[in-house]
């Protein structure tokens, strides 16, 4: 498990990192926590000629408040996201999903931005970010731009990031007081989900006023389950009503088939797990 040879730079500022990436061109690759990239390199499934390591870029770490959003630096580790009080208060769904990522060792190394930029549709955080309406702040040679989560994920392992761009922070709209639950269905604790459902809802007067549901491993990108969101709004926050609405959870999905699940089973799971996620979120 030895990767092919590569050059390595470790810039200390974002500007340097962007420059280094531009210089490296197509063969450059950004190294964040390395929890996805290093296995790929070691198995020689990829062989970039230069790694730009962001671990020394201090400005990319941490969580801050910015008006009606919280802003999470792309290099913030899962562990730091998990114990952050702003995340806990305003983005409970993210904390829930982050707590299920792999194991404690990986959560201390892996980063929020790294997981999103890797864009594995089976991963936890892309689905959670989708349900949270996150916005990706991207830095490139021409400056910064912001991309809504729905446009960020393009395909399997493919995002809106250009080859010379770095995901630098994630703006997450505050969902203070919303209920949230991340329902993950996997075979062993450290495995990727077969299907997972990230659900967060606002309850007003015993009824669901707003709902956001993101699905993991139900297609080539994380899926926003808009059908079930619409079906939930206006419904009483009861198990029966939620279960009925959750029947819409798999609408429009085109899930993959593998040894763990065929498409039919995944769609079935999406419905069952959505019902459970929303019920758990509201305590129904």
């Amino acid at each position: 498990m030895i990767p092919a040879a590569f050059d390595y730079v470790a810039p200390t500022t974002l500007d340097e990192a962007v420059r280094a990436l531009a210089e490296a061109g197509e063969d450059g690759k950004v190294l964040a926590g390395g929890q996805s990239l290093l296995p790929v390199l070691r198995m020689r499934l990829a062989a970039p000629s230069k790694l730009i390591d962001l671990n020394k870029v201090a400005e990319l770490r941490g969580v801050r408040e910015d008006g009606d959003a919280i802003v999470i630096g792309a290099m913030t580790t899962h562990y730091d996201v998990l114990r952050d009080s702003l995340v806990a208060e305003h983005a409970a769904l993210l904390a829930e999903a982050t707590g299920t990522v792999a194991d404690p060792q990986i959560r201390h190394r892996g980063t929020f931005g790294g997981s999103l930029a890797h864009a594995d549709p089976a991963a936890d955080l892309p689905a959670a970010a989708t349900a949270m309406d996150a916005e990706m702040v991207i830095a490139g040679p021409g400056g910064r731009r912001t991309v809504p989560v729905g446009e960020f994920f393009v395909d399997f392992f493919t995002t809106a990031l250009g080859p010379d761009e770095v995901l630098c922070e994630i703006r997450v709209p505050k969902r203070t007081g919303w209920h949230a639950h991340y329902e993950k269905f996997n075979r062993v604790a450290q495995a990727w989900p077969i299907v997972a459902v990230a659900a967060t809802v606002r309850v007003d007067g015993g009824s669901i006023a707003e709902a956001r549901v993101g699905l993991a491993n139900m297609g080539p990108t994380p899926v926003r389950a808009t059908g079930v969101e619409q079906a939930l709004v206006g419904q009483p926050a009861t198990a029966e009503a939620i279960k009925a609405a959750a029947e819409h959870a798999a609408e429009g999905t085109n899930p993959p088939a593998d040894g763990n699940a065929d498409a039919e089973f995944r769609q079935h799971l999406a419905r069952v797990l959505t019902s459970r996620a929303v019920s758990a979120a509201v305590g129904a």
Binding site: M1, I2, A4, A5, S36, P39, V40, M43, R44, L45, D120, P121, A122, A123, F156, F157, F185, R187, V188, A189, Q190, A191, W192, I194, N217, P256, A257, D258, G259, N260, A261, D262, F265, H268, L269, V272, L273
Partner: protein, 814 residues
């Protein structure tokens, strides 16, 4: 110097080994750094079955740091054929088994080229520039198809994919009746076919080997279970004089049978070192380990059980297909045969027939994996007892009670011809039922069924036995095994009274150093701390049969006890002389000799005093050699037969197919216990591996013969997070065939637990029309079984997913 008064045996001592292992102080094989060490990497075939038409290594030879590239053609004349030590029948077909393929590959993962370079990095880089041209051949994967007429052949020169058919028939053997008669006379016949999926031993330390050819002897360090057997086999395979080979197994990080092997990698490292005249290291990657180290299980089991309406069993017929993979490794051919004696289990079947056909396929060879033949047998018979209970409308425990050997019937000679020396199935079962709350769980199960709870409860039983302590040499001889089953030990009394114990057992995680020290402390009356256990080096421990088959305690420790007896016998002569008494008048207790009947206050000489006196040798009785050191070789008179009752309660989510183990109780009877803490560890680890077969693990090949579970992200080894809290307890029926009264515990948990879990899963959903679910009982399989009754959904996915998230890892083997 006072000796320990409280016996060491029975103490839950923490292991001597653990400090160096936990703090990383030990040196594993891969930690060795010899002067001038060079590194080997192996290019492996991505094809399951193909002719090699060309290998172009010219570019690799020019790469930086590369010292040599060898192909099969380069080594064909000196590599010999990897040994198979178990010709189970006179006409068994065994293909030539090269360590590196010469002109044809027969499984994906077989070695096709070696690079030796100054660094492991340079060796890995050079592998990529070797071009191999393959001419693909039809791939043989399915056992039933492989033995059908006109099947494509794995080895064309053998003319068949069937290696051998081995039969045991109680009618012919005179150990029981004719099973066909029993079946035709039966009031009830139950027929089922079970699939033992292919498993991967998945030891923690990958295989590693270093060979130093620069001394007078070749020295091989290897992460192996069997340094002694390896030495003999290297000598026989490579025509190297045995006395010119030294094998060292340093601390070894697990084996589970997976390192009971003479591996291609060991031979190739040896050949490379001999060619280059330099020390060479090979350390496999995890992916190589999963792909090419031998696999386990993989059988199709056709079971026919006959019984009376009252539940009394009358006959058992077992027809197996056993997947050998592409070659016969060291004991590949004999693994299913080890199960032949265990299908009848604890039950008094009056007639029994076992027929096993060993089949070649284009897959990684199979061989020993924890339990080796016995888990397969136990699974099938314990599933069948549940099926019989359902057929008769009886409680599954009642069916078992009706048929098992009663405690007063021991010793009992079974229909398979083994004599079980001791056991008490009633006592273990009673204890297990009480700890489990059997009746209350049955009541809850009824309640959940009645109200249609989406989460159903199931109860699974496994009342198992196994045969351990491999093995009486005469029995191995009768089974055509290529070696004996004895074990050797030696005890050296040092002048200062400290003790060195040399053992031919070769621990790789079991804690022999602790257990042997406890035994010797009691035997010689010396402090536990004063005992050092030497093992795993054919130079210090020159004679041995190594560690597998739960044999170390029942065979290896018995050799230690016998060596201690000889030390005491020698010491008695000196003691009598020192006490000015006749030898007949002295007795040994608590580490000292006294004149008989003189009491604890009388003059005594300790074993340490005697050791010093013998070292000085100034005043020894006439004719007494100045040496207390002794050795012994123990050959057991019988196997040992641990048993136990395992009870599992599962909650099956009928909406998702997820299985959760709610409680797991096991009461094992392993005879006397040396160290309860070590036993607890063995049971926990064993349960984890048995449960893993039931619920999680499977080596999956796609239709081209590519292993799709080639990483630990795809091959799902459960962790503590996936397993329940185990409730363990013991009953104690001492073995009557060794003086320690021990039976062995290394494999019990693995053997017993798989059927307990699967029986519990089926029991939870049987009322929904499910009578079987193939292992592992994945959520999709369980869900599909509930919906459609199909037992085998999923499992053969060649598409991406699961592993590295959505990354398809099966394309690359490195």
């Amino acid at each position: 110097m006072t000796a320990t008064v409280e016996p060491e045996v029975g103490k839950a001592r923490r292991r001597k080994e653990d400090a160096r292992l936990i703090t990383g102080r030990t040196r594993w094989t891969d930690n060795l750094a010899l002067p001038g060490l060079v590194h080997m990497a192996i290019l492996r075939s991505p094809m399951a079955h193909a002719r090699i038409t060309n290998i172009d290594a010219s570019a690799a030879r020019q790469m930086p740091g590369v010292l040599a590239v060898f192909t099969g053609a380069d080594l064909a004349d000196e590599q010999g054929s990897l040994p198979n030590a178990w010709p189970i029948t006179e006409d068994m077909k065994a293909p030539t088994a090269p360590s590196i393929a010469v002109d044809k590959v027969n499984f994906a993962g077989e070695a096709v080229a070696l690079v030796i370079a100054r660094s492991a990095y340079e060796a890995a880089d050079a592998l990529e520039s070797i071009d191999v041209d393959y001419d693909e051949l039809p791939v043989v994967l399915d056992m039933a198809a492989a033995v059908a007429d006109g099947a494509d052949l794995v080895h064309e020169d053998l003319g068949t994919n069937s290696s051998a058919t081995w039969i045991f028939d109680s009618g012919e053997a005179g150990t029981g009746g004719d099973v066909e008669q029993a079946i035709s006379d039966a009031e009830v016949v139950v027929e089922r076919t079970y699939r033992q999926q292919r498993l991967i031993p998945a030891f923690m330390e990958p295989r590693a080997v270093v060979v130093d050819p620069t001394g007078e002897q070749f020295t091989m360090w290897s992460a192996t279970q069997i340094p002694h057997i390896l030495r003999v086999m290297l000598a026989m395979t490579l025509s190297v004089p045995e006395h010119k080979v030294r094998v060292i197994a340093p601390d070894v990080g697990g084996g589970f049978g997976g390192k009971l092997q003479v591996t291609p990698e060991e031979v190739l490292t040896f050949l490379a070192a001999r060619r280059l005249g330099k020390p060479v290291k090979y350390n496999e990657t995890r992916s190589e380990s999963l792909l090419s180290a031998h696999h386990g299980r993989d059988q199709i089991q056709k079971m026919t059980l006959s019984a009376k309406r009252d539940g009394t069993v009358t006959g058992l017929k077992v027809e197996l297909l056993a997947d050998m993979g592409a070659y016969l490794r060291l004991v590949t051919s004999g693994i299913p045969i080890l199960g032949a004696f265990m299908f009848n289990a604890i039950y008094k079947f009056p007639a029994y027939r076992f027929v096993c056909t060993n089949v070649f396929t284009n897959k990684t060879p199979t061989d020993a994996y924890r339990g080796a033949g016995r888990p397969e047998a136990t699974f099938a018979v314990e599933r069948m007892m549940d099926e019989l209970a359902v057929e008769l409308g009886m409680d599954p425990m009642e069916v078992r009670e009706k048929n098992w050997i009663k405690h007063e019937e021991f010793p009992f000679t079974t229909v398979a011809g083994l004599t079980y020396d001791s056991g008490n199935y009633e006592a273990a079962t009673a204890k297990a039922k009480e700890l489990f709350g059997y009746d209350a769980l049955r009541a809850e199960q009824r309640e959940r069924r009645e109200k249609g709870d989406p989460v159903q409860l199931g109860i699974g039983i496994s009342t198992f036995t196994e045969m351990c302590g491999l093995a009486p040499s005469r029995v191995l001889g009768s089974l055509s095994y290529g070696a004996g089953g004895w074990e050797h030990a030696a005890i050296r009394m040092l002048p200062t009274g400290k003790v060195e114990v040399v053992t031919g057992s070769s621990p790789h995680g079991q804690g022999h150093e602790t257990a042997w020290s406890q035994i010797v402390a009691d035997q010689l009356g010396v402090p536990f701390e004063d005992v050092e256990v030497l093992h795993g080096d054919t130079q210090s421990s020159h004679k041995g049969m190594d560690t597998y088959g739960s044999r170390s305690l029942t065979v290896g420790a018995m050799a230690v006890v016998q060596a201690a007896d000889k030390v005491k016998a020698k010491a008695a002569k000196v003691a009598a002389h020192m006490l000015e008494a006749s030898e007949d008048d002295v007795e040994f207790a608590s580490g000292a000799f006294r004149v008989k009947g003189t009491g604890a206050e009388a003059k005594s000489v300790s074993i340490q005093d005697i050791a010093l006196a013998v070292f000085a040798a100034h005043d020894l009785p006439d004719g007494v050699e100045p040496n207390l050191d002794s050795e012994a070789t123990f050959d057991p008179e019988n196997f040992s037969f641990p048993h136990g009752t395992h009870l599992c309660a599962t909650e099956v989510d009928t909406e998702t197919g997820r299985v959760e183990i709610r409680s797991y109780v096991c009461v094992d009877d392993i005879g006397k216990v040396i160290n309860p803490l070590i036993v607890e560890g063995q049971v926990h680890g064993g349960l984890a591996q048995g449960i893993a077969q039931a619920l999680f693990e499977e080596a999956v090949y796609d239709e081209s013969g590519t292993l799709t579970t080639g990483t630990l992200a795809d091959y799902l080894v459960p962790s503590a997070a996936d397993l329940p809290t185990f409730v363990t307890d013991r009953t104690e029926s001492p073995s009557t065939t060794n003086v320690l009264g021990v039976k062995g515990v290394g494999e019990a948990g693995t053997i017993a637990s798989t059927p307990a879990v699967v029986n519990a899963v089926i029991d939870a959903v049987r009322h929904l029309g499910v009578s079987d679910i193939e292992m592992p009982c994945t959520p999709m399989r369980v869900w599909q079984a509930i919906r459609t009754g199909r037992p085998d959904a999923g499992g053969l996915g060649s598409e991406a997913g699961g592993g590295l998230g959505s990354i398809d890892t099966s394309g690359g083997t490195q």
